[in-house]
């Protein structure tokens, strides 16, 4: 995912995965030049939005520029130096390491890793939401035709070289919130992480980043972080861990009188399938209830449990959590995929990314829309027709970042 950069991201910007849509742009590309100016203006007036902790000089910075080039392994002595760099280059994306290093500018194996907060990434794409089928768009990389919905071939030229354009809706955000809450609950209950140490950020496009600032986990290796991720995703859970085993006939039976501390995944699963355990013991009452359930479901307990685990698990990207050298979008910086910023969510329930993460100015500009679309930003609904439209800068920036509109002239 491109809200972060892994250590193998190169500096050339030729890597398609991380490439910018402006990497082949001409120097006089109107969209690129306009966005560059808009981003610079944002950073000039809203630099205080950038969330930088202490010891800024021990973190690695990375930037994606509007020409598609990626610059990594940079460090700054203080905030002033960083601001000067940002204003000078007006990058399309700004990344910052969660890790602290002795030498942040050195090559990965020479940096001298000190430690890192735990980071979890929840991406809307990974939730495979039904609503995405209706509001997402597909761009054909060959003929640039944009279709609505999810298709496997371009309607215009039959090409299969397609790129999905996320246009998240309020329902997508609601589903993402559910995932964040599940994650936070497991971190709190099982990992003993105080909610005050858990910081939730809207990624600026279609996801959330959850940062855990806890000294107990700061020095955890990549291997340990991977174990945390597998735990949170419920991957590899053995039914025997519930105190249930397969007998000689292959039927799953409870291990009677087994004393199991009823917490963690065990409690979560038993509660979810309405089979609570009393006093941590698998007693006769439990066995009776279990057998009734087994009979009613044609011995299909394993499938039922698997479904519940899927529902209860946190849909995180394990690669992000275990990669201790990854750099993450800096909080308060603009996401060039949407024009919205990565924003801290103090209260997830009241946070509305389409309002609270929208910071671009509202002067009117003229934009050529490539399609008919409704966009809701800063609490206003915009019905956009194909062709010329006069719209506030923040809507124009959203459309250009999504690749569905071209800037004309400022009015």
């Amino acid at each position: 995912m491109s809200d972060t950069l892994s250590f193998d991201s190169n500096n050339s910007g030729k890597n398609g995965k991380h490439g910018s849509k402006y990497q082949n742009a001409e120097p006089d590309d109107k969209n690129k030049n306009w966005l560059e100016g808009i981003f610079r203006k944002y950073y000039f007036y809203h630099y205080s939005q950038l969330e930088l902790g202490e010891l800024i000089n021990e973190h690695e910075f990375g930037f994606r520029l509007f020409d598609g080039k990626i610059r990594r392994h940079l460090a700054f002595n203080d905030k002033k130096e960083l601001y000067a760099y940002i204003i000078k280059f007006s990058p399309s994306d700004i990344f910052y390491s969660s890790s602290r290093y002795q030498s942040p500018t050195a090559e990965i194996d020479q940096k001298g890793w000190i430690g890192s907060d735990l980071i979890f990434d929840i991406d809307g794409k990974d939730l495979h939401l039904e609503c995405a089928q209706s509001h997402n768009l597909v761009l054909c990389k060959d003929c640039s035709f944009i279709s609505k919905g999810i298709i496997s071939k371009c309607v215009g030229c039959n090409s299969t070289r397609l790129q999905i354009i996320d246009i998240p809706c309020a329902r997508c955000i609601k589903s993402l919130n559910v995932e964040v809450k599940k994650l936070v609950e497991i971190l709190d209950d099982d990992f003993g992480i105080d909610s005050e140490c858990i910081f939730v950020y809207f990624s600026g496009n279609n996801g959330y980043h959850v940062h855990v600032v806890d000294k107990n986990f700061y020095n955890a290796s990549a291997k340990k972080r991977n174990a945390f991720a597998q735990y949170l995703m419920g991957k590899g859970y053995l039914i025997e861990s519930l105190g249930i085993r397969r007998n000689n006939e292959g039927v799953l039976i409870p291990m009677s009188n087994k004393i199991l501390y009823n917490q963690g995944w065990r409690r979560r699963i038993f509660d979810s399938i309405h089979l609570p355990i009393q006093n941590h013991k698998i007693d006769d009452k439990f066995v009776k209830k279990y057998n009734r359930m087994q009979d009613a479901n044609n011995n299909n307990i394993q499938d039922i449990i698997n479904t519940h685990i899927l529902d209860l698990s946190a849909k995180i990207d394990p690669n992000v959590t275990m990669d201790i050298h990854r750099i993450f979008r800096l909080s308060g910086s603009i996401n060039s995929k949407s024009g919205l910023i990565k924003a801290f969510c103090k209260d997830l329930d009241s946070f509305n990314p389409f309002v609270d993460a929208c910071f671009i100015g509202d002067s009117n500009v003229e934009i050529e829309s490539k399609l008919n679309i409704k966009i809701s930003l800063k609490g206003k609904q915009f019905s956009i027709k194909p062709g010329k439209n006069t719209l506030p800068e923040y809507v124009a920036a959203y459309m250009i970042c999504k690749g569905i509109g071209d800037i004309q002239n400022q009015t």
Partner: protein
């Protein structure tokens, strides 16, 4: 500081507190040449022979003496055992001894942890100290919940077993409030590997200028008996390519490594598929440090469908083998989905 009772220390002769019982009397290795120590040398030799040739760890501490003597004797027997193994100087033997000895200590720990009275603070403090000193892990007792033990998640993951076996993976442990919860036997099993490594480390680090003659004579006799029984390992599949996953298992056995359960299952099913007789298979499994003929015989017969529900187990697929981290794929594996296909390929079945 925790004060150990003498009796407790006899069970844990690897602790430095136990060792102090012989150093304070100015004990030297040369003393072992004296007849006074013959009975202890014999006891150590008998223990090692039981370990190596019969896979038994039926060792009895002689509690009929004064506490001080019991500890001194157990520490000296432990030292003699290390010396014997050091002078036998066969890697497989060292590993087998370390495994059996760690299993013996593990048995004591399980018994102490499970029978310890809730109010008996001393025994618990001793056990906490063993874990903290030897393995740098702080364990705590959750007195309100059936005497479960708990260790911090981060500390738990410092133990290799947490990554080696599925049931020990974090996902299959009970986590609550930042701790991993384990019962008495589980917490000790967690440390088995560490105990094993600790014993190997002690043997390797021994630097002795002269091994007492009596010990040298016994070690030579054990060594020659071992070498007569164990010849170099040959891949038992003739006229066929040995799949790399199976070859890796043979290599592990040759090095005296213990095999995880899925590797035993793979090897067993593969040998059965290769039409090996039960005796031929036992000959191979015999080299495992924790070999138990009765159990192995039963399990192989079960895999062959001669026990239980008469279902014969087939060799696991490459996909399953990969999932179990037992795959050591090479170019010859291209296009196969089960290691048995390599045998067919070669023999033209």
């Amino acid at each position: 500081m925790v004060r150990f009772g003498n009796k407790d220390l006899a069970k844990y002769p690897f602790l430095k507190e136990a060792f102090s019982y012989i150093t304070k009397y100015d004990f030297k290795l040369e003393d072992l040449d004296s007849k006074d120590y013959l009975h202890l040398i014999d006891k150590a030799a008998e223990k090692i022979e039981n370990y190596l040739f019969f896979g038994r760890f039926e060792y009895q501490i002689n509690y009929s003496k004064t506490h001080e003597t019991i500890v001194q004797e157990e520490v000296i027997i432990f030292l003699i055992s290390l010396l014997l193994i050091k002078s036998i100087s066969i890697d497989v033997v060292t590993k087998k001894f370390a495994l059996m000895e760690s299993m013996r200590f593990e048995k004591y720990l399980i018994s102490d942890l499970n029978t310890a009275d809730r109010d008996d603070k001393t025994i618990k403090l001793i056990l906490y100290k063993i874990f903290e000193d030897l393995f740098s892990t702080k364990i705590l007792l959750e007195v309100d919940v059936y005497n479960f033990y708990k260790i911090r998640i981060n500390d738990y993951l410092d133990h290799p077993i947490a990554f080696q076996e599925k049931e020990w993976n974090l996902i299959n442990r009970t986590l609550h409030n930042g701790f991993v919860y384990l019962d008495g036997s589980e917490i000790v099993r967690l440390f088995r590997n560490e105990l094993y490594l600790l014993i190997i480390d002690r043997i390797k680090k021994m630097s002795i200028t002269r091994i007492p003659d009596t010990i040298m004579a016994i070690s030579k006799s054990i060594k020659s008996r071992w070498e007569q029984i164990h010849h170099s390992i040959n891949a038992p599949v003739s006229n066929a390519v040995t799949p790399p996953c199976i070859q890796h298992i043979y290599d592990q056995i040759s090095k005296g490594e213990n095999l995880p359960h899925p590797a035993r299952l793979l090897l067993g099913t593969f040998l059965i598929y290769s039409n090996k007789t039960l005796e031929e298979m036992l000959e191979l499994f015999k080299r495992l440090p924790d070999f138990d003929e009765k159990i192995t015989r039963y399990q192989l017969e079960h895999l062959a469908g001669k026990r239980g529900n008469s279902k014969r187990y087939f060799v696991p697929s490459c996909e399953k083998i990969k999932l179990e981290n037992l795959c050591y794929e090479t170019r010859i594996c291209q296009g196969i989905s089960n290691p048995t296909q390599l045998i067919r390929k070669k023999s033209g079945i």
